[in-house]
């Protein structure tokens, strides 16, 4: 029988990768999040505030 696994790989730790990781993790699915830079956050972490509410990005 072929080994089937129920983990998910996510490539990229920006806002999209972070959101997808958290959604899957909350469903009880194990996630491997690969990010090429030393820390996750991506471009969004570089933003000061976000529109249209001027909320803090991080």
């Amino acid at each position: 029988m072929m080994t089937k696994t129920n983990d998910v790989l996510i490539v990229g730790g920006g806002i999209a990768g972070i959101q997808a990781s958290l959604d899957l993790a909350e469903m009880g699915i194990r996630v491997h999040l690969v990010e090429k830079l030393p820390s996750i956050g991506g471009k969004m972490a570089q933003l000061d505030k976000t529109f249209p509410t001027n909320d803090c990005a991080i």
Partner: protein, 451 residues
Amino acid sequence: MLDVGRHPNISLLAYSEVESVKGRAGDFKVTVRRKRRYVEEDRCTGCGACTEKCPTIVPDAFNQGLGNRKAIYSYFAQGIPSTHTIDPDFCRQIKGKKCGICEKTCQAKAINFDQKDRIIELNVGAVILAAGYDVFDPSMIPEFRYAQITNVVTALEFERLLSASGPTAGHLDRPSDRAVAAEIERMEKEITKSQRMLEKFEKKYEEASAQFYDNFQKSRFQDDEDRLKWAEKYASHRAIVDSLDALKEKTASFTVAKRLAFIQCVGSRDFRFYPFCSGYCCMHSIKEAIIAQEHEPETTSTIFGMDIRAVGKGFEEYKVRGGNHSNISYVRGRVSEIMEGADHNPVVIYEDTRERQVKNEAFDMVILATACVPTKGIVDLANIFGIELDAYNFIKTDPLSPVDTTVPGIFVCGCAQSPMDVPESVAQASSAAERAAEIVAQADVEEAVAL
């Protein structure tokens, strides 16, 4: 971000890259290279003592090169994981010079110069690609003189200047003024150094440098090699001191940038580069103008664009609010050229299409709303995963299944698929997560049936 680091179901593989992928939906075998940080992840507490002591200064990529960091660094202050990383391109020890200060400083004994890359194998049922995007390089548009006029910046650079955690602590100091300030600092260091050298000579010959130089110029001691060096040193010292004085005069005209111009569609909706609309830049410029005015109430902003695309919940209201309360004026027209005026102020030449007139106006700073373009590594990534890209090199999807790539079991979300803003990225990410969960759940059921 913090939640990702803490969640028991998420294993965070930062500073890592996918090397190869085999298999199919429900059963992928993935090889991941964990790049060496020269710092042990399980030991580093992220205290930052090493960074404080590190003698090597490097331009900070997180601040778009506007600030500096050390050769051992955490990517940004609140970064997850907080593990520090040594930059092998700059670290003295790794470059073969004598250093190792961080190793001596680290109380957790986390520094390991002999660390090797590690290869790990993962078995997964589904993959989500959220590889992101790059910012268009505006130096490809020569008429905007991005690299030549220091006070012309990109929207992301401006974002760092506005940020309280950025290189200017949120003060809108003009880049040209910052360059002068940095030059003054560099010169002052050099002067202290040469001062020390001169003092040595003064001690040796028991004579003040100025007095010695006077005598030297009256053709005394001309054949004494040591004194010749002294004279040379003193001459170059005087030259730096004089140019420093001239630079210091310039500091009187330092100003905070209060007249801002935002230029839309830099690289996008431009048939020389990318014909598509990047989607978020209109709102991004409005946001930056509003925040700048919040920092400094006298700030006025002009947004130059073909049209302002405020499509989204609450976006149009945000645009109107910017015009009414944040001194933003919207000018319909494309900018043909940016010139450098007096005091490094950029002068924008544009056609006001409402008045049918070609005008020019000087600003303190110009901000270019640069296009969202496919990230550099996307072609390699597509080859690794065997997926197709579209004509621009974004990941190919079908309009009716916008998160499915051309390979079953591999999904995409965010700007790797097409340009989009934060709310859209988040929505698409949740959608991709659901699609991946479907595959994984199916694998679960099949396994149960087989048993």
